[in-house]
């Protein structure tokens, strides 16, 4: 444990290694680390930005969706309205048609009835004439009693 030249040797070695470290070791390592730090920070910032963008896009999409829904609802609404209208119109038309058909049927029935009545009446007139002829046993003068018979037929 003597103090000797080792002391001087160590001082020289000390400065040598410190110089080496300062010249060749420290700067590249610390530069690389700082660069990486910056890269990571940039990456994180980009990720932040991207997530923010995503949020915005989602919001926009949601808005679009809402708009589209609204629009669709409007379309459906108007379509419904139109359908109702068409149905109503059809109903009215059908009702009118039905009335018309009913009316024509009624008119036809009436006509038939009248015709039948006319035929009946003429037949009754003929019958009653024939009956009267038989009852009287004599020929009734067609011309003399035509007024009477016609009156009778009209009463039927």
């Amino acid at each position: 444990m003597n103090i000797n030249l080792t002391l001087i040797g160590q001082v020289i070695a000390f400065f040598g290694f410190v110089w080496f470290c300062m010249k060749f070791v420290w700067p590249p390592i610390i530069a690389a680390m700082q660069e990486r730090e910056k890269k990571i920070a940039d990456g994180l910032a980009a990720a932040d930005r991207a997530s923010h963008d995503l949020e915005l896009a989602q919001e926009k999409a949601l808005e679009r969706l809402k708009e589209a829904k609204h629009e669709a609802a409007g379309i459906v609404d108007s379509a419904n309205k139109r359908a109702h209208q068409i149905v109503d119109e059809a109903k009215v038309a059908a009702q009118a048609e039905a009335e018309r058909v009913k009316a024509s049927a009624r008119a036809e029935i009436e006509q038939e009835t009248n015709r039948a009545r006319e035929v009946l009446r003429s037949q009754v007139a003929a019958l009653s004439l024939a009956g009267a002829e038989k009852v009287l046993g004599a020929t009734i003068d067609q011309n003399a009693h035509a007024d009477l018979v016609n009156k009778l037929a009209a009463e039927l």
Binding site: N4, L5, T6, L7, G9, F17, V25, I30, A32
Partner: protein, 292 residues
């Protein structure tokens, strides 16, 4: 383990003796009875007494070799990483090195508020180098000396930081930096600081000078002695535990437990000592940069 005919104290002394190469003074009688001729002789010291007789003109070959070797290991390791350092994804080893660099950088940032490109690499060098030197303490105490013995090298101490020359060498390096930056930053203010602190009166200049210079010198002294003391004590305990193994079969088990326990505890100590040396260096240099 030591030879059969060796006493425990021989064993301990052997383990605490550095491999010394130096100049023996003229007329010195060596261990084998030969007398050193005129002008002295540069030889490997045989034992502690010869090493002591060499005085200052000697060098601890083992301390120096391990210290520089570990410094080269440090430089090589970090240089390799520095060469392939990129801002891409770091792989395992690069990651580990960068963790250390980051740690040192943070410590420096927290403590040193000036702007000086030397401080951070200086701290990194101190931290890792001292850590590696201390780490040698965890190598079982007998392995390297025994191997060296087989190679014909008589003494070998592998923990450079248990050599006060090494620790003082580093702390003197720090002192030189403290003085350099004090003068560079404060100029004449540094002299005034030494002379007029703490008593700001011309009459007290000698007292102030004495106190401030003692205070200044205390910094490297405390740095060096703290590291040396801790590592020397740690190594001493390792050696004592190793000696305990030779005390008989019954002592093997407790000695084994002691060895493991102390080694685990020592992992903490070596890291802590490296860290303390680094932090105090930063603090001292930060003080050197600040004007009062």
């Amino acid at each position: 383990m030591a030879g059969e005919n060796q006493t425990v104290s021989d064993y301990i002394v052997h383990h605490l003796t550095n491999l010394t190469y130096g100049k023996l003074p003229a007329g010195y009688e060596r261990y084998d009875g030969s007398i050193v001729g005129d002008g002295g002789a540069w030889v490997m010291a045989h034992g502690g007494t010869e090493a002591a007789a060499m005085g200052f003109t000697a060098i601890h070959v083992d301390s120096m070799a391990w210290s520089i070797g570990l410094g080269i290991v440090f430089s090589w390791m970090f240089y390799r990483v520095a060469k392939k350092a990129s801002s891409g994804v770091p792989s395992g080893f690069v990651n580990a090195i960068e963790m250390i660099v980051q740690f040192v950088d943070n410590t420096v940032r927290d403590t040193f508020h000036g702007r000086n490109p030397l401080i951070a690499p200086l701290s990194l060098t101190i931290f890792v180098w001292i850590f590696l030197m201390n780490l040698m303490d965890l190598v079982p105490v007998d392995i390297v000396p025994e191997l060296m013995m087989l190679l014909g090298v008589e003494y070998h101490k592998i923990v450079p930081s248990t050599d006060p020359n090494i620790t003082f060498g580093m702390s003197i390096g720090v002192l030189i930096l403290i003085l350099f930056y004090s003068i560079k930053v404060k100029g004449f203010g540094f002299a005034r600081e030494l002379a007029l602190n703490p008593f700001n009166h011309p009459l007290f200049i000698p007292v102030n000078l004495f106190m401030e210079i003692v205070g200044l010198l205390a910094k490297p002294f405390s740095l060096a002695l703290r590291l040396f003391g801790n590592m020397y004590a740690g190594e001493m305990i390792f050696i004592l535990i190793a000696a305990l193994f030779s005390a008989g079969l019954a002592w093997m088990v407790p000695a084994g437990f002691l060895q493991i326990g102390w080694a685990i505890f020592h992992i903490l100590v070596i890291t802590l000592q490296a860290f303390i040396f680094m932090v105090l260096t930063i603090v001292y240099l930060s003080m050197a940069h600040e004007d009062h």
